[in-house]
């Protein structure tokens, strides 16, 4: 990437960088504004918007908004819920979808191609078009708990996790990757008498680092940023994820903007830091959804 080519000189080089930087400013300024504003009292935050001070940590700077925000809402619980729901879903997705893909690619069974086509066809169904009937469904589903059979999944962790474990795209990504693995490797293990389960666990999965990262990152972004579904199925505070928790700040008569910015910073910065530290992998993951599609 850092090659120096023949036209990298003088004025042209500067204009190129100027354009790149200008575009970068457009993408950064709202996030910079968010982080900087979280340090300012409401009054200053609102009056600073008419000058460049909006983007500078100047004036009455403190962490007051953060401590106020923690007092207003159980932020720790929200963050835990989001991390828990996202983490569990990602792990289960990786297992369930890779296992299905393994079966589609390496095993031969009756009905395989029909089922695979049906799963692929589900890619065209946007989640938004099934949430309403899904809401009715989960409100009546049974669950076997400590006190026998319970009815209804509303207000639980499982309603935030189970519907999102398996999806067509994740299976598809694993299938595409598995297809390119050397088939002799699997056949050799098979001849040696290894069971399918062993081959999946000991041969295929250890070779699948890149696709595991791709599927994990896509699912992580989808789950952590979910809004509409938890809004509909989660009312209880103890299991509320971060995006829905935002209501504690915005559903006020006088919105405490400083606290809002603090809260947004708290729920965004960890994701951004995670992204920036792994940005090549993130970008490769998104690219992977395009190249093979």
């Amino acid at each position: 990437m850092a090659l120096v080519t023949s036209d990298n000189h003088g004025l042209r080089l500067w204009t190129r960088y100027a354009v790149l930087i200008l575009v970068a400013v457009i993408f950064i300024f709202p996030l910079l504004f968010m982080a900087v504003s979280s340090l300012k009292p409401d009054q200053q935050l609102l009056s600073d918007t008419n000058s460049l001070r909006a983007f500078l940590p100047v004036g009455d700077i403190s962490l007051q908004n953060y401590s106020d925000a923690f007092e207003r809402a159980p932020i720790g619980i929200f963050v835990f819920n989001s991390v828990f729901v996202t983490g569990v879903t990602v792990v289960l997705t990786l297992f369930v979808c890779s296992l299905a893909a393994f079966s589609f690619v390496f095993l031969d069974w009756r009905g395989k191609s029909v089922i695979f086509s049906i799963l692929l066809a589900t890619l065209i169904i946007p989640y938004e078009t099934i949430f309403i009937p899904l809401l009715l469904m989960v409100s009546q589903l049974p669950w076997i708990g400590g006190e026998g059979i319970e009815w209804g999944w509303i207000n639980t962790y499982r309603v935030q996790i189970i519907p999102f474990i398996a999806d067509g795209l994740s299976i598809f990504l694993f299938v595409q990757y598995f297809k390119d693995l050397p088939r002799e490797l699997i056949e050799a293990s098979r001849v040696e008498g290894a069971s399918w389960w062993t081959i999946y666990r000991r041969v295929v999965m250890p070779l699948s680092g890149p696709v595991i990262a791709t599927a994990a990152i896509l699912k992580f972004l989808f789950m952590y940023n979910q809004y509409l579904w938890p809004l509909m199925v989660v009312q209880a505070e103890e299991i509320r994820p971060v995006m829905v928790g935002l209501g504690y700040f915005t559903d006020q008569l006088n919105v405490p903007w400083g606290e809002v910015m603090a809260y947004l910073t708290i729920i965004t910065i960890p994701v951004l830091a995670f992204y920036l530290s792994l940005q090549r992998v993130f970008i490769a993951s998104v690219a992977a959804t395009g190249v093979k599609g």
Partner: protein, 356 residues
């Protein structure tokens, strides 16, 4: 794909079962349930039994009539004119319990126009839904090409071989990892009236000539503002997909073009663009699907207002299916939305098919 190894039905089924089963249970069943529910009067919780109502939900949403209002006439048969305006009978005389016009029952005026002395009115059973439908289409028609085009521009910009280019790529992609809810709230602040960030910036650029606008508070700017923000958030995602497409084009083609003395524009026209065909189809379909699913921006920024100028389909589906617990109404909107998405992706596929 079929392995030539022994047929292993049991192991194959067992391994595919969790994934296939979950998709069947939580995507395929709800999908068909939406169609079924749209033919009933199902509510989220109701003491009354659910009944089959046929296509009533659809006609309640999509019912349209064109009606011509003739002017009020005086005894000589001339149209009555008051204050320079032709006077018409009230619409509600026809739409409320008028046995002569059963097809207009309960409908409201959506829009109308003048035709000679007469006034032609288009009546809709559900004006809010029709607005949501039109707004959703408007959103898609603007956002899909603009976002795809800008994303391609960014991809070309970032595909240069410059020192530190990966830093810029990382920055352009950044909004993609930020939740649309967070982004919407930030932009709501940026768009705020008076001394809001955007107003101040525009005032500064025009040396004070620009007068502040209440971007989200007036019907003419609310939807375009949401479009601009959505493009800002999503463009990095499609930039990366374009970039992946660009990098599959063989460098030898570029070298050949250079040897032939092709100009930059010609290189793009004859080498780059043909190589991006499949990527273009994919990107258009993905953006269209994402744009039709527009929800969080509306919920966070405008709740459909002002005056329904930002009502969209998913927001309406949620407001009815969840807000009013009218599962059948929400399902009907979902089905309509799905059929539109399906039709458009089929049309896009057909328009961009390989012409051999």
């Amino acid at each position: 794909m079929a392995s030539k190894l022994t047929r292993s039905n049991r192991a194959g089924w067992l391994m595919a079962l969790p994934g296939a089963g979950l998709i069947a249970a939580f995507i395929i069943i709800p999908f068909f349930l939406a169609f079924t529910l749209s033919l009933t009067n199902q509510r989220l919780a109701s003491p009354n039994p659910t009944e089959y109502v046929g296509f009533e939900n659809y006609s309640d949403l999509l019912g349209l009539s064109i009606f011509t209002l003739e002017p009020e006439r005086d005894e000589a048969g001339n149209a009555v004119i008051e204050d320079g305006k032709i006077q018409y009978p009230r619409l509600r005389n026809f739409t409320r319990n008028n046995p002569d016009y059963p097809n207009l029952q309960g409908k409201r005026e959506w829009f109308g126009w003048q035709s000679g002395e007469n006034r032609v009115v288009v009546l809709s059973s559900d004006v809010v839904f029709m607005r949501a439908l039109v707004n959703t289409f408007t959103f898609v028609i603007f956002v899909a090409p603009i976002q795809a085009g800008l994303a391609l521009g960014l991809a070309l910009l970032i595909n240069q071989q410059l020192r530190g280019i990966s830093v810029f790529r990382a920055i352009y992609f950044m909004p993609v990892v930020v939740s649309i809810v967070v982004v919407s709230l930030l932009w709501k602040f940026i768009y705020s009236p008076g001394d809001g960030l955007l107003n101040s910036l525009l005032g500064w650029v025009t040396f004070g000539a620009f007068e502040g606008i209440d971007w989200l508070g007036q019907t003419s700017t609310a939807l375009p503002s949401i479009m601009a923000m959505s493009v800002w958030q999503g463009v990095g995602f499609h930039m990366v997909i374009w970039l992946a497409g660009l990098q599959t084009i063989s460098p030898t083609l570029y070298e050949a073009a250079e040897i032939e003395g092709a100009k930059k524009r010609q290189v793009f026209r004859y080498v780059t663009w043909p190589g991006l065909r499949n990527t273009a189809v994919l990107i258009l379909i993905v953006i269209t699907m994402q744009a039709f699913a527009l929800y969080a921006q509306i919920a966070v920024m405008t709740s459909g207002g002002p005056l329904d100028s930002t009502q969209v389909l998913v927001f309406q589906a949620v407001e009815r299916g969840y807000g009013k617990q009218d599962i059948s109404g929400g399902s009907t909107i979902s089905v309509i939305l799905f059929l539109i998405v399906l039709m458009i992706s089929l049309v896009q596929r057909w328009l961009t098919r390989e012409r051999n």
